[in-house]
Symmetry: C2
Subunit: 122 residues, 2 copies
């Protein structure tokens, strides 16, 4: 009944760190080298390389080696699955609220049209 928890685990974990989200945003705009990705951050190059590994483990990013440089590119698929989970959850909730709203409206409608007497109209 569970829908492949592992993938979601890795994706959400990868998205849980601001540095990784920033890296992802950057690599999404264009395929980048590791050094290039590390440049805006105050942490070591190795730390960035590790963050990229976490993104890679979740499948959000792919590495390609050319010449002496490693190119990192974006892969949107795991993001789709994460979005699907959240949307499924949210839509269930809003549906629940809509149902409640409809119920309240129905009660309201039943109460207001001068049917305020004791015996309920049937």
């Amino acid at each position: 009944m569970n829908e492949e928890t592992g993938i979601l685990d890795l994706t959400m974990t990868a998205l849980a760190h601001p540095t990784r989200r920033a890296i992802l945003q950057r690599v999404m705009r264009r395929e980048s080298r590791v050094t290039e990705l590390a440049e805006p951050f105050a942490i070591s190059l190795n730390a960035v390389s590790k963050h990229i590994s976490v993104l890679e483990r979740a499948g959000l990013v792919r590495r390609r080696r050319a010449w002496r440089e490693h190119w990192v590119s974006f892969n949107p698929v795991p993001l789709d699955e994460a979005a699907a989970w959240i949307e499924k959850t949210r839509s269930f909730w809003t549906a629940r609220l809509d149902a409640l709203d409809a119920l309240l409206k129905a009660e309201d409608a039943a109460a207001s049209p001068q049917s305020q007497r004791k015996g309920r109209r049937t």
Copy 2:
């Protein structure tokens, strides 16, 4: 430029664990007691209480105490923010793809103004 990273961090972290996602799905359907939430899991009650704390820290869940029972209820707001981040990211990506597609179409049109009509059949 950054939109309150901390909230997203906590939300994504909370969603990164399958037990917590399951708890959230359950508590979303109805407000539940801790013991009730713990029942389907093979871990200790304390472990579940901790998971609930993680959800609570992210604001995904609220605790209310009545009588000797603690009732846990769902709060959708942090989920909205997580969904917004992912959607923003995905929409950027698809827009990028659309632009690329348009570019390719334009090139195609420029390269073959009229000779295209029976040239390729694939």
